[in-house]
């Protein structure tokens, strides 16, 4: 099947609107940020136009390097955990009757309506020593005394996973519910247990949406700048937190811009790597 390509200036005219919007709201701000990242920061004042690599140079330090690595690490880890949990969850959800699915989907959508701030502070309370879940466990006799689970790495990871979970379910759900139920049945008739069927048939067939979910949760958590401050200690601050810190509290816009560009390059590299790895195992069509 071929679609006819538009010819002439008039036929391309309708494209001007989306193209213009894209330039106005994406290319221009990005250009400004890119330019600012090379500007000179005047101590105790604003920045002035210049072309220097000082901002990038400053970033190449053990402190920010570690922050970058930590950001990538916790984003990858949370993406992996969320998808590992949400994928089977969604699979069983789609196997339920329609009427049983709806309330669960509504609940998941309701979680989406909560802001990151509310989620962050709720988890902070739930994991705290004074009012948290450990008090319930003491009451049940599972713990000798209440414990503070936050701030910690685990608490931050927990918060990020909680945030990413509903998105993952929503991304994977359409493809899962369209999955031909006869595919896993065929696998079972050929002797594969339900467990084996899930890994040899369901996961590979839905690989595209699976990878889409991994990338989305990864990018989503890479940009999280509130949760690390609420649920983590300063060593758990991601690069996004540092960018916010530089831009808002230190008023060092050029350095913040340089860090943002760095972060973007690294996440693009990661996404590219994921796609290449995914494509290499895909047989030629």
């Amino acid at each position: 099947m071929t679609t006819e390509r538009p010819h002439g200036l008039m036929a391309h005219l309708p494209m001007l609107w989306p193209a213009g919007m894209l330039v106005l709201f994406f290319v221009v701000p990005f250009g400004i940020m890119l330019a600012v990242s090379f500007f000179h920061q005047v101590q105790g004042a604003f920045f002035e136009p210049a072309f220097e690599l000082d901002n990038y140079g400053r970033f190449v330090s053990a402190f920010f390097g570690r922050a970058l690595l930590f950001s990538l690490w916790i984003s990858i880890l949370s993406a992996a955990i969320v998808v590992a949990v949400a994928f089977p969850f969604t699979y069983f959800l789609t196997r339920l009757r329609r009427r049983a699915q709806v309330p669960i989907l509504v609940f998941i959508l309701a979680v989406l309506s909560l802001s990151e701030v509310i989620i962050g502070f709720s988890w902070s309370t739930l994991l705290s020593r004074n009012a948290g879940l450990s008090n319930v466990m003491v009451w049940l006799g599972m713990l000798p005394r209440p414990v503070a689970w936050t701030p910690s790495f685990g608490a931050l990871l927990m918060g990020m996973c909680y945030l990413g979970f509903p998105y993952t379910v929503l991304i994977v759900y359409p493809a899962m519910s369209r999955l031909d139920p006869e595919l896993p049945e065929a696998s079972r008739m050929l002797g594969a247990s339900p467990f084996r069927t899930f890994f040899t048939i369901v996961v590979p067939v839905l690989k595209t949406s699976l990878m889409g979910a991994v990338i989305m949760v990864f990018v989503f958590n890479l940009g999280a700048f509130l949760l690390p401050q609420v649920l983590g200690r300063p060593p758990h601050w991601t690069l996004s937190v540092h960018i916010t810190d530089q831009a808002v509290f230190q008023s060092n816009i050029p350095f913040a811009a340089a860090m943002a560009i760095f972060l973007m390059l690294f996440s693009l590299a990661f996404i590219g790597l994921t796609l290449v790895l995914g494509a290499s195992r895909e047989a030629p069509r």
């Binding site: 006869e182 065929a186 696998s187 079972r188 050929l190 594969a192 069927t197």
Partner: protein
Amino acid sequence: MSGLRIDHVGKSFGMFEALKDIDLDFPDGKFICLLGPSGCGKTTLLRVIAGLETPTRGRILLDGTDISGLPAHRRNLGMVFQSLALFPHLTVGENIAYGLRIRGADQATRRRKTEELLDLVRLPGTADRQISQLSGGQRQRVAIARALAIDPKLFLLDEPLSALDAKLRETMQVELKLLQKRLGISTIVVTHDQREALTMADIVVVMNHAEVQQVGSPLDIYRNPVNAFVADFIGSSNLLTGVVGGEDGVIIVDGLPVQTEAGRALVRGTKASISIRPEEVLVHPGTETGPNHLPAKVTFVRDLGASVEIMLECSGREILAVSSPRTRPAVDTGDAVTIELPPAACVVLAS
């Protein structure tokens, strides 16, 4: 005890009864067709045999062993699904070898077996192709090969040819039948197409409303349908309702006696129907009298080349007569004619 026994199997989905007390016994090595309109429970019965549905009541016995408790993946039955359910991420060869891989067969065995099966379904040398590169008929063959790869004890097919166009479907019917004959494997096919059932089956099981209506050879079912549903569903059939006129097999239709051969056991005065196949109805031009002669009027003549269909009206009921072009009676639309119902062709159905 060899063969498949379906022992008083029932299946309910909530309030809906999909199968009502199905009790069937199939000898080994037969080609069985479960035939019926959609929603009659035939697919549910197949899925119960496969282990994909758990029966609410009853047992399934294969070669004398109760397999009702075994999950589908432990039954070792080959199944071809309606959607074919070929794994899109695997090649043709990997699809066929999937069951062998699950069973831990080594690569050499898998390759040899795959080649054998591809030869069997007449698709040699396609092991490395992608499923998306195959035509509908080729996919069909791959699905059959995949199901046979595990040397199944039963070969189950759920409306396997429904996705193919009419011409290819008829070729595949013959091919499937020949394949089954060659392998001698017990085969159960679900279909709603009576032509398909008559082409392939050794035993036809006609189902309707979650119940078995009749079990028999295709010819037996065609010649001697037990009730109006079977008579109408298998081929086309003319039904004439009347009253039993005596103990000698005479049924009174519209005041005229029709002699039948099968009606001897009926009680005088009870209602009965005569079923007669269109190709058995004889049409005579003009008005004639004689035994088993009824007056009728031609409403339409359809000349189909290979056959001529004559639609008639006989005291308010529609009668269809089919004849070959050579024996075509000289009648036309609007003519008053006489139809003759040969006694041997009249099957009596109890109401």
